[in-house]
């Protein structure tokens, strides 16, 4: 049995506890261009020599490990800095890929659905009086990894 065989689109009751890893890699275009340089056709000795001389094209940028599944992930630039964004149920993570700072936002229930949300997510805190449609509570910002 391999946990990779299970669907990632459904909530699975795994037979063993499972952990999750969000990996971010960077592949410099300079490394890719070595492989596509028209002066060195693939398969030629010159091509192989150039490829062997290069560093591995995939470079690890960051890893976020968690015991909770990642529902949604995205990459984007914020104020000129690269970020990875991840959503885990009601928690949204923003990780700056340069400074490594992690910002967390815990999203509350929609206005009018607080009771239902409290029953389904008893661990989530809601700040109802302050926000009309939904509460967004920045939990904290700290350095990780």
């Amino acid at each position: 049995m391999d946990v990779s065989d299970y669907s990632e689109d459904h909530v699975i009751d795994f037979p063993v506890p499972v952990r999750y890893e969000l990996n971010v890699l960077h592949c410099p275009l300079s490394a890719i261009h070595v492989a596509e340089d028209p002066r060195f056709p693939p398969g030629s000795s010159a091509y192989t020599a150039r490829i062997d001389f290069q560093l591995p094209p995939f470079r690890n940028v960051t890893v976020i490990r968690s015991n909770t599944a990642f529902d949604f992930t995205d990459l984007d630039m914020v104020d000129g800095a690269p970020y990875v964004v991840a959503v885990q149920e009601r928690l949204i993570l923003f990780k700056n890929l340069v400074s490594r700072n992690v910002h967390r936002i815990r999203v509350g229930a929609l206005f009018g659905y607080e009771e239902e949300a409290s029953e389904n997510h008893p661990e989530v805190r809601f700040n109802l009086p302050r926000l009309l449609y939904h509460s967004v509570t920045p939990v904290h910002c700290h350095r990780e990894y």
Binding site: N23, L25, C27, S30, I32, P57, V61, T73, D74
Partner: protein, 160 residues
């Protein structure tokens, strides 16, 4: 150079290209300039037609069972999560319209378990422009379960 002259005054949106000097206007070859113009015209005509449709479907070998795929904006590169053999997984970066093949594999990295939720974008990291790729993978939490064969035994390894 005819196509580059046309391209210089072309008014329709062009297909995105990798943001590097290699694909800047002075560095473009005539063939690449022609492709840009033709694609922009074809896309515009198709988009404005009463029944837009796909004219071409590319079928290419990804060197394994494709679990998921992500096209880097512009369509020049494709990132694929592939399953090889019984329990080997990898990420492959394919260059589209390569001079040798429709999709030419330029980089590959084995992963200990299936990579999913692929995201890929052109982004600058430190000083280098490149393709930023994110993926999620999962594995048994306990080392004893991992050792018992619940996941692939191979460590991650970079290779080309």
């Amino acid at each position: 150079m005819v196509w580059k002259r046309i391209l210089r005054t072309f008014h329709l949106p062009l297909p995105p290209l990798p943001p590097t000097i290699r694909y800047s206007f002075p560095s473009l070859s005539s063939l690449e300039a022609e492709r840009l113009v033709i694609r922009a015209l074809a896309a515009e005509a198709n988009w404005r037609s009463t029944m837009p449709k796909s004219y071409k479907a590319w079928r290419f070998c990804a060197f394994g069972d494709v679990m998921s795929i992500k096209i880097v904006p512009g369509g020049k590169y494709v990132v694929a999560s592939v399953h090889e053999g019984t329990n080997r997984y990898a990420l492959i970066l394919l260059m589209m319209e390569h001079r040798v093949k429709t999709a030419y594999p330029v980089a590959k990295m084995a992963t200990p378990s299936k990579p999913y939720k692929l995201e890929a974008k052109y982004m600058r990291y430190e000083t280098e422009m490149g393709i930023m790729i994110s993926y999620v993978r999962r594995e048994p939490k306990r080392a004893s379960d991992r050792a018992a064969g619940y996941v692939l035994r191979h460590p991650p390894r970079h290779y080309r």
